[in-house]
Amino acid sequence: MKLDLWFRFPKSSVHWIGVVRLMLGIGLMGASYFALANSHNATRSHGHMAHTAESVVKGPANIHQATSVTASFDGQGRLWAVWIFGQALYVNYSDDLGKSYSEPVKVNQQAENISSNSEARPNIVVANNGNVYVSYAQNLEKRFSGNVRFSRSIDGGKRFSAPITVNDNREMIGHSFPVLAVNQQGDVYMVWLDSRDKVADQRINTRAEGFIGSSVYYALSDDEGLSFQSNVKIQDHSCQCCRIAITLDPHDLPVILWRHVYGADNRDHGMVRFVSKSKLAAPMRVTDDGWRINACPHHGPSLSIDKLDNYHMVWFTQGESRKGSFYAHSTNQGASFSEPVKLGDGSLPAQHPHVLAIEKNVYVVWKSFDGNETTLYVMRSLDRGRSWGRPTVIAKTANASDHGFLLAKDQDAFVSWHTVDQGQRLLKLDPVMFDDGTAVSTLSRGNY
């Protein structure tokens, strides 16, 4: 291709006074448009690691106008939700499957810039004793810098403790993407992405390629969230911008799955399980898709483990071997996985998959955009992921939406989905929805 084909002269021959007047007018129109858009949703991100800008959200804190709503059922069937509104984290709950919610309780009394996006999002878990634990990423002034924060309520969610910073490295560098798990014993695990090793390496090393990615760290609290023990590194060279998955196995110990960088630029997935309360097995590589890329996929994996210790995982890749979102299971604690099953029919990208196993049933949710609407699909397996029914449409929206997340309440499966137009919804996955593959959904809508 000849270079001269590329050259483009700016169009000229314009009348200058007219231009200046036009520019002023358009500039003002543009400014008011942005003011409107920003006031509508200043903290909504685009699904990547956006730092929260100065908030201009107005009115009382409300789950339906919030961002990064993350929900979880406790052992009594109460639905808990944590979400961001302006510069505060809020928690409330629902006893009627999302039809109505309790008065929101503010977690951080001092305003903070809280990471508000679909990947680096707050978490909420409830212990057997009723303690409510929340985590979130606080963004600091410098880009890619922050702290992973934690707060607890020991009075059933009426009040939350002043948030503490869990990362024991306090440099203004990256500590983000925290996730939480609490087991039957009451041990609380926080896992996050940390750049302390990258920064340390940069101080002593001047080699061209540098330290690849971030590192995965965890910290354990065995005093019901009052304090955390020293930070422990799990592995260097994770991807820097994808959500971590954490779940508990039948031994009541956490298993962690994350996007990892193998070699210089191979973005696959690493997994590690705890063999005792604070002892880790060796991390394993669990995908090999040949996605050689130096990029931010903003597309974290998901993991669920059934009572027979079968691991069910879903992930996104654009590798040489396969492209799209996939499901696979392991019957040997991640040592090997079944042949990946591609999600969707291939006509549209299946994005942001999430998985949940309840006994023999396995559910996978994902979303696709067809040019006009975002559609939330679910597919179900009745035999631990060996065979799958047809994907079913459970909801649609024609505006911005978060990812869909599967939740279990006893034997029932639900999808938590937050959309700008419909607010926060809890969609129950009724068995009838899967029989004929048609678009039936029993959704509960909040009062807003």
Partner: protein
């Protein structure tokens, strides 16, 4: 003599402003330069005000229609994507070597991050390129217009041929690949 010096100075400053304004008029979208310029904070001064056009539904068509019959490159990036900084630095070098190269940069950041996008563009020395920023919180239609098969990973680069066909590539593009394409 004093008057003549002043006259020359004025003429030169006028010339400096021309390219910025002219480029602004070519686009059909809103221009926010007058409201949002924060050039004072920038460590690198550019000869003209940075144009950051809001990318909304139809903007991709505008970008393409303005370039009918010409080859060009579209780069999607974000201030929140660490590899994107390396990518911007690379485009600064490539543009210096190939001044005629037509590169359009689109930031996928929320409009609330407008100031930061502007600062990064200027700091990375790529203010001379054409810049857009996602202007709608409903990003899926914007992505879809760019490429229905793209899932949002960044950086993302599209090489458009003069006949309108494009090839999309995710991740940092190696400079020699671009030079090979240019040749």
């Amino acid at each position: 003599m004093k008057h003549r010096v002043a006259f020359i100075f004025l003429s030169l400053s006028f010339l400096c402003v021309v390219p910025g304004i002219t480029l602004g008029v070519v686009g059909t979208e809103f221009d926010t330069t007058s409201e949002l310029n924060d050039g004072e904070k920038s460590p690198i001064k550019t000869p003209f005000a940075l144009q950051l056009k809001p990318f909304s539904k139809g903007s991709m068509e505008t970008i393409k229609s303005q370039r009918k019959g010409s080859a060009f490159i579209v780069v999607l990036w974000s201030v929140d994507c660490p590899p994107c900084y390396e990518e911007l630095e690379m485009w600064r070098r490539v543009k210096a070597s190939y001044p005629a190269l037509d590169v359009v940069l689109i930031s996928t950041d929320a409009m609330a991050l407008n100031d930061e996008v502007r600062r990064v563009v200027e700091k990375m020395g790529v203010a001379m390129l054409e810049h857009w920023q996602f202007a709608d919180a409903f990003v899926e239609p914007l992505r879809y217009e760019i490429d229905p098969g793209w899932s949002g990973e960044l950086p993302r680069t599209y090489f458009y041929s003069a006949t309108g066909e494009y090839v999309g590539r995710s991740g940092i593009i190696k400079q020699d690949k671009i030079e090979a394409w240019i040749e």
